[in-house]
């Protein structure tokens, strides 16, 4: 292609994402668009094609983005090249969302005609606006009996400040309004700007590890042209590679001779580690380098830490292998070996958020077949000691003695919650209970409010979302962003089983809540730990001071006093089953503790257990 051809083609490229709250129909809309552009024969259609991992499919969420190149013959007679870039739908992956939005010029905003705007929608719309995207509002699910498209149209105008008069009324499920959406993409989304002859600038918005090709980086070209054989450089990491393959997904993998301005596709280059192709980094030529990188790159830092330990101590190396394999594909996952008196050898792992943590855990157990004990998640505390030194503590067990501490600072987030106004009281009560500072409340329309609180991240990690969901019967939506560290009156709570401190059960708690939580955890453990051959006292302590106690009485009877006749095999099986149950528990000192107990610090109902 010569320059003119490239520019002409560039003018008919449209790059866009779909943004939506979970369940508002993003994946279904993506399927319809693929159908409409004949990207796939009907028989190839797998429902919700863009969600590729099993786990995603099961959980109905998207964790890895994907980009597809589509051809669309518009009503003006021209054929356009569309790049539809999928975005992950969870707050843990906000940064990845922002980078994939940065690869676009436009976004289709899908709002559920019955439920209206949710916190997640708003957060993503703001991300899109930050990236100067043209936003095309779509009111989806208009075929539902409870649909109120006019109310939602008004809400989009009032809350987001978008002109929604042209908003498409659609039903992705029923295939209504799809063509109209595509026409609006052609008309409203700007063509990519950029110079195909300038030094290369390409944004990495995702990367995955492939066992045969090494890292596959998903890129959007802003300036210049990239071809196989080119020497390239990652501007943030400084690493250089030679391009081996480039191509696009249609959604089948198709190799190309070059990618140029506006193109969205992938490249491979014998890159061994996804850490070398960081999301948000700019690729440029090794020789003919761009002077400035594309804006917005940030190194992803984990927000939540927890310990992962194999139940079977001999699986420590297997666990390391598993984490290393996952790391190839997940630049945000961090881990380092640690040891616990109670749990032996394991790893302290850092995650973007709770969902990220759960996904990693589940993949280790499912794909690598390692039974895990997970300690309760913790945030990173800034600890300033009396001698002036500063410590970062990501494991409650490592919190220094209180006499040595000058002050502790903890991360705070700005939490935005949206709900019908009948729940204002409930939400504010929860915000208060979770040590939040009220910031702001706004009516989005007559019925719906948006409430903003500043809340310690540790409370979010604890059980905030579950509580919010259950207290508002699922009506509230929620989003948060980190706003920095603030001093707090925090103490370390230790748990003693049979008079021995179990380091893996220690947690950090605000002084004002320490008694209450100590009592809760002690009662919870009493329920979770089965009776042993001897009485097991459980204590919660701050320093030397016991704040709560209880005990598990000794096992009185465990013997098969049943007439099994001559069925010895059955008797054997029963004993084997009991024994296997024990094996899934961790021997802590002389006490056998089940897996769930280590998560008890996290998952407890905030009601005093009934005796």
């Amino acid at each position: 292609m010569n320059r003119e051809e490239k520019l002409a083609r560039q003018s008919r490229i449209r790059n866009f994402s779909i943004i939506a709250h979970i369940d508002h129909g993003k994946s279904t809309l993506a399927d319809r668009i693929l159908e409409k552009t004949n990207a796939l024969a009907q028989r190839e259609m797998k429902s919700q094609l863009l969600d590729s991992m099993d786990l995603e499919r099961e959980r109905g969420i998207t964790i890895k983005l994907n980009a597809v190149q589509l051809k669309y013959k518009a009503k003006d007679g021209e054929e356009y090249t569309f790049h539809l870039i999928d975005t992950p739908g969870h707050v843990d992956f906000t940064y990845e969302v922002s980078r994939s939005l940065a690869a676009c010029e436009g976004a289709v905003l899908v709002v559920d005609a019955a439920q209206g705007i949710e916190a997640q929608t708003l957060a993503n719309v703001y991300l899109a606006l930050d990236n100067n995207l043209e936003i095309i509002p779509v009111i989806n699910k208009i075929d539902l009996p409870s649909a109120e498209p006019e109310r939602v149209r008004q809400e989009i105008e009032d809350v987001i400040g978008l002109d929604a008069s042209e908003a498409v009324l659609a039903s992705a499920k029923a295939g209504i309004g799809i063509e109209e959406i595509l026409e609006q993409v052609v008309d409203l989304v700007p063509a990519p700007q950029g110079d195909p002859d300038a030094p290369l600038k390409a944004l990495i918005f995702d990367s995955v590890y492939d066992a045969y090709r090494g890292v596959v980086a998903y890129i959007r070209v802003f300036d210049g042209t990239i071809k196989p054989g080119d020497k390239i450089k990652m501007m943030a990491t400084g690493k250089e590679f030679e391009v081996i393959e480039i191509g696009a997904m249609t959604p089948k993998v198709e190799l190309r001779d070059e990618l140029t301005v506006g193109d969205v596709g992938f490249l491979t280059g014998a890159i061994k580690n996804v850490g070398d192709t960081r999301v948000g980094d700019t690729i440029t030529g090794a020789k003919n380098s761009a002077t400035e990188a594309l804006p917005g790159y940030r190194r992803l830092n984990p927000m939540v830490y927890c310990g992962l330990y194999p139940i079977d101590a001999s699986k420590f190396n297997d666990l390391r292998d598993a984490l290393e394999k996952l790391e190839l594909n997940d630049a945000a996952l961090q881990f380092e070996a640690e040891s616990s008196q109670a749990l032996g050898f394991g790893f302290r792992c850092g995650f973007l958020g709770l969902l990220h943590m759960e996904i990693v855990q589940e993949r280790i157990e499912r794909e690598f077949n390692i039974d895990l004990i997970t300690t309760a998640p913790s945030v990173i505390y800034d600890v300033i000691l009396t001698d002036g030194t500063e410590l970062k503590v990501d494991n409650p067990a490592n919190m220094p003695e209180s006499q040595k501490i000058e002050r502790v600072e903890e991360p705070y987030v700005k939490a935005t919650m949206m709900a019908p106004n009948e729940f204002v009281g409930t939400i504010m009560e929860l915000g208060q209970k979770k040590r939040g500072n009220f910031v702001n409340m706004e009516y989005m329309d007559e019925n719906r409010v948006s409430i903003v609180y500043e809340i310690p991240l540790s409370e979010i990690v604890y059980d905030f979302f579950d509580q919010l969901k259950s207290n508002t019967r699922g009506y509230a939506s929620f989003d948060y962003e980190l706003i920095g560290y603030r001093p707090s009156k925090l103490v370390k709570m230790d748990i003693l089983l049979n008079s021995e401190t179990v380091d893996a059960l220690s947690f950090i708690v605000h002084t004002d809540f320490s008694y209450e939580r100590g009592k809760l955890i002690v009662e919870k453990l009493k329920k979770l730990i089965p009776r042993q051959q001897f009485e097991v006292p459980i204590q919660a302590a701050i320093g030397q001071k016991i704040v709560a106690r209880s005990s598990i009485s000794a096992m009185r009877k465990n013997v098969l006093a049943k007439c099994y006749g001559g069925d010895i095999s059955r008797k054997r099986k029963l004993l084997e089953k009991q024994k296997a149950g024990k094996k899934r528990m961790k021997q802590v000192g002389s006490v056998e503790v089940p897996q769930e107990a280590f998560m008890a610090v996290l998952k407890m109902d905030d009601t005093t257990p009934k005796k």
Partner: protein, 379 residues
């Protein structure tokens, strides 16, 4: 050489709420055909796995053996005596339900050489009996036992269950008192275990079964042991009590880890070094026999390590425990060598004790038997 036989009659007039043995409603079942096929099985088994010239014990259980009519009962007893020869002082037991035994049936049994009866009494509290699906009442127990004694039976045992839903300590003590007042030479007392495919299990799934807590059940077991002891009925196994000389020799076959025939639908045998399970459903059981084949569902060849484990977890159920000398004679290796770790560990926990040639459970160990038995399992 096999010296014991278990024979299973899977028919019942009523199904109890806790029972998970192989059983079906009697009505409409091909009982005559079943008995015929079972006779064939006895003969096939003896041909396949040689029996000792004379058996030590025969045990007919169920289901309900006494649900058979007189003719059927006679046929069954004849089949047994045609196939097996019982030692002169051999033990020949029939299980029976109180209230279901006519004088005629008792006579048939007595004439056929049956010398021991085991009654499924379970409780003397009528209310509880009703709740667990038994059709007999306490009064039937007295009547039937009297009848049996008048026919000539002296070696009589009854089964009692504790830990029943809604059962209180008082209920159980009362049952014990009434049971002991009968002054029988043998008592078995089992704790209720809720098993899948029972009425109780379904109730439990729905949260509608209220069992006594572990502590109450433990108290009942302790009360049981204490009371039996007081009445000179010594505990020779976890759930079995007898006057000296009246221990059930058939059950001891199991605890002593010796071989036995298992005959009938769903019966389990231990023959030729194999644990064998028969097909359970009556039709499935009879089909292969019609073609002169054994109705085997599952066969497990017991490897040496499992044999040794079984020697321990079965043998330790006996109050006497397991003889180290016997172990060595049987397996040509020292018990203390094979099981050094569990023996040391469980002794340290106070659950096992070594006395002369025997390793046995302590008093505490009896209540926590499973903890000990598990320790002897490998893996």
């Amino acid at each position: 050489m096999i010296q014991s036989a278990y024979i299973h009659i899977p028919f019942c007039e009523h199904i109890c709420h806790y029972c998970d043995f192989n059983k079906v409603f009697l009505q409409g079942q091909p009982v005559d055909e079943y008995l015929k096929m079972m006779k064939k099985e006895m003969q096939l088994q003896v041909k396949t796995y040689p029996s000792a010239p004379e058996l030590e014990t025969i045990f007919v259980g169920g289901g309900t053996p006494t649900s058979l009519n007189e003719t059927q009962l006679q046929y069954l007893c004849d089949s047994i005596s045609e196939t097996f020869t019982l030692k002169k002082d051999g033990e020949y037991t029939f299980e029976a339900n109180p209230g279901e035994l006519s004088r005629e049936k008792l006579e048939i049994l007595y004439q056929s050489g049956v010398n021991r009866l085991s009654f499924g009494v379970q409780s003397f509290t009528d209310d509880l009996l009703k709740r667990i699906g038994r059709t007999h009442r306490a009064a039937d127990v007295y009547e039937t036992i009297e009848k049996a004694q008048s026919v000539g039976f002296t070696n009589i045992s009854i089964d009692l269950i504790y830990g029943l839903p809604g059962q209180t300590m008082e209920d159980f003590t009362d049952t014990l008192d009434k049971a002991l007042a009968l002054d029988l030479p043998h008592y078995s007392s089992y704790s209720l275990i809720v098993e899948p495919k029972t009425v109780f299990y379904n109730l439990m799934q729905k949260g509608k079964l209220h069992l006594p807590p572990q502590d109450t059940e433990a108290n009942m077991y302790e009360k049981l042991m204490e009371t039996m002891e007081k009445h000179n009925l010594h505990q020779y196994e976890i759930s079995n009590f007898a006057r000296t000389g009246f221990e059930s020799r058939h059950n001891l076959t199991y605890w002593n880890n010796e071989e036995y025939y298992g005959i009938g639908a769903g019966a389990h045998g231990y023959t030729g070094g194999k644990r064998i399970a028969n097909h359970g459903p009556v039709k499935k059981y009879m089909n292969p026999l019609q073609a002169d084949e054994l109705p085997v569902l599952e066969t497990h060849v017991v490897p040496l390590n499992e044999k040794m484990e079984e020697e321990m977890f079965l043998g330790l159920r006996k109050t006497a425990g397991v003889s180290m000398q016997h172990f060595k004679d049987k397996f040509f290796v020292e018990m203390t060598e094979v099981f050094a770790k569990p023996i040391e560990e469980q002794t340290r926990h106070g659950l096992l004790v070594q006395e002369n040639d025997f390793i046995r459970l302590t008093e505490k160990g009896k209540l926590l038997g499973n903890e000990v038995f598990q320790a002897f399992l490998n893996g």
